[in-house]
């Protein structure tokens, strides 16, 4: 096993509860105080293991997001069959007419 290298990255520093709360907010995940605390311990342990990648010399290596070399493939701009509105709306939790219903996002005072 490659020994972790403490210099780059933050993996060795324990993740704080404030950081966990911030990440949960970014991820749009409602979690209780207990759940956040449990998550903090688990993340610290996993990040500790992830730190083993700091032992790999990556100098001059280009990042590779995709295993197979490929570029964008474009298709002809020709209308074809698509799903019906009824099909698309069939899984929506709330529907009004031909639209997906969502809670009001504008204050009545903001609008027209």
């Amino acid at each position: 096993m490659t020994p972790p290298d403490a210099s780059p990255g933050h993996a060795e520093s324990p993740i704080t509860i404030e950081e966990v709360r911030h990440v949960a907010e970014l991820a749009r995940l409602a979690m209780s105080g207990e759940e956040l605390e449990a998550c903090r311990g688990e993340l610290a342990s996993i990040l500790g293991h992830i730190a083993t990648i700091n032992g790999v010399n990556v100098e001059g290596i280009a990042p590779m997001a995709h295993a197979i070399d490929m570029s964008n493939r474009l298709s002809e701009d020709v209308p074809g069959e698509s799903l019906s509105i009824e099909d698309v709306l069939s899984n929506a939790p709330a529907v009004e007419d031909r639209y997906i219903a969502v809670p009001k996002v504008l204050d009545p005072g903001d609008g027209a």
Binding site: I46, V58, P63, R73, V105
Partner: protein, 496 residues
């Protein structure tokens, strides 16, 4: 348990009207009815839709039509692959009532080949897990010992084939989710080269890693299913645009002179003794077949899990943002004084289970400002090195050999630490990171407290090396008899 025979044999008997597609389907449904109570491999079966499909195939055969190589063969589908008008839950409460308005490309291709997709198998929630314990609707049990896991995340598909409920099933493999359960259930499982099989209609987890592949009892059966689903798809721009080769053509050609690489990192002191013994025996089998065994090194094997648990969760956290309680899935409406943010956060917080939340948190963290370079960018650099390491090793050998997993199936509930669970996949993740193909096939058994548990041999080949991979697997199978042994289902424990 029903005895379907091989897929080629079953399809031939259906084609010649010795039996019918309907009879083959009924045998599966009956066997599930009698035995799946103790195994819980199926989330649901769509008996009526499947019967109509099977009847149509029988009618077409009656009228002299060639319905395809999988004529009337019933195939189970992992519950993260969408099937029109049927539930696709992904093992998650957030999609408990979701019904897809379209079929995945692989479903269309199975239908085109004459197969009968007939039910959805349980999986870890959004395919995240190594034991199918993280399914929101209950765990799947290993047919060899129902107190143990079948592996994961495609545990339902592996268990269904091992139990003899159906001759084949589809799964998906992001870091080992086909090969690892195939190993733990004693069946064949193929992870094709990245881009060989369309992902259109596979609920995305890690789109640069995910591949759909088959489970079956034998290499030839799995190959027949792979052949039907492989190939370019206009709906998935990451599919490879060269046609899939004919995998069956050279499947039975002897492998004399084939160079089989044995990475020293794969025979590890961390493996169960029975696993190392199985690998050594496989090496001898291959020597007996005239293969040349080459000692090779893959030192980056050790950083595979660390690399994977940056890339996989990063992609998952981005992908699963679509489950926001707006367009589909579970919605928890905001309470008085709450805002849209609360709708998102509560729908997701209550809809996702603990492992999915953990990976979204991890992925969000490694992509967040200040950490991106240290984690995500660095993992992508290591990813390139892992691919280069495979490319170099494949200059010295044609196929790599090793164990699929470090140990046989573990008892349900015995692993509570997430990191320990992740390390179950140490031999499988790098194939996904590098995009190469791999297979797990039955290669021996271990005794654990009086139970007989199957062990899987993993072979890996370069990208688009399926032909050589499958031939090497088939020749091993022909020289051994591990695949012929099946679990005895306990009649006392069967439900319904």
């Amino acid at each position: 348990m029903s005895d379907h025979g091989t897929i080629a044999d079953l399809a031939a008997r259906i084609r010649t009207r010795e039996t019918t597609a309907v009879a083959a389907l009924e045998a599966c449904l009956d066997s599930i009815d009698r035995h799946d109570g103790a195994i819980a491999s199926f989330q649901c079966t769509s008996a009526d839709v499947a019967r109509a499909r099977a009847e149509a195939i029988d009618r077409r055969i009656d009228s002299g039509e060639d319905v395809g190589p999988l004529a009337g063969v019933p195939i189970a589908i992992k519950d993260n692959i969408v099937t029109r008008g049927e539930p696709t839950t992904c093992g998650s409460r957030i999609l408990e009532h979701f019904q897809s308005p379209y079929d995945a490309t692989v479903i269309q291709r199975l239908n085109d080949a004459g197969a009968v997709p007939f039910g959805k198998t349980r999986c870890d929630e959004f395919a995240m897990g190594s034991g199918t314990e993280y399914c929101a609707f209950g765990p799947v049990h290993n047919p060899w010992d129902t107190s143990r896991v079948p592996g994961g995340s495609s545990g339902g598909s592996a268990a269904a084939v091992a139990a003899g409920f159906c001759p084949a099933a589809l799964g998906s493999d992001t870091g080992g989710s086909i090969r690892q359960p195939a190993s733990l259930c004693g069946v064949v499982g193929i992870k094709p080269t990245y881009g060989r099989v369309s992902r259109y209609g596979l609920v995305s987890f890690g789109p640069s890693l995910d591949q759909i592949g088959p489970f079956a009892r034998t290499v030839e059966d799995a190959t027949l299913v792979l052949q039907a689903i492989a190939g370019e798809d206009v709906h998935d721009s990451t599919t490879i645009d060269t046609p899939a080769e004919d995998y069956l053509k050279d499947l039975h050609v002897p492998i004399e002179g084939l160079r089989i690489g044995l990475p020293r990192e794969y025979i590890d002191t961390g493996n169960d003794d029975a696993v190392n013994d199985m690998v050594n025996a496989a090496v001898e089998t291959y020597r007996g077949l005239g293969a040349e065994i080459v000692d090779v090194q893959l030192p980056l094997t050790d950083v595979g899990i660390a690399t994977y648990y940056v890339i996989g969760p990063a992609e998952a956290s981005s992908n699963l943002a679509r489950f926001d309680g707006i367009r589909y899935g579970r919605r928890v409406p905001p309470g008085p004084g709450e805002e849209l943010f609360d709708l998102y956060a509560k729908s997701r917080g209550e809809g996702f289970g603990p492992e999915v939340r953990r990976r979204i948190m991890l992925g969000t963290y490694v992509l967040s400002a200040g950490y991106y370079d240290a984690y995500y960018k660095r993992a992508l650099q290591v990813r390139r090195l892992i691919r280069q390491e495979f490319e170099n090793v494949f200059q010295q050998c044609d196929v790599l050999l090793g164990p699929t997993t470090p140990a046989p199936a573990f008892p349900i509930g015995s692993i509570s630490d997430p990191l320990t669970m992740y390390l179950c996949d140490r031999y499988t993740v790098n194939a996904n990171i590098a995009g190469i193909c791999g297979i797990s096939l039955p290669a021996g058994f271990a005794d654990a407290n009086g139970c007989t548990l199957p062990l899987g041999l993993q072979l890996q080949a370069p990208a688009l090396g399926e032909g050589t991979l499958l031939r090497a697997a088939r020749m091993f199978e022909a020289a051994t008899n591990h695949h012929a042994r099946t679990p005895e289902l306990d009649p006392a424990a069967t439900g319904s």
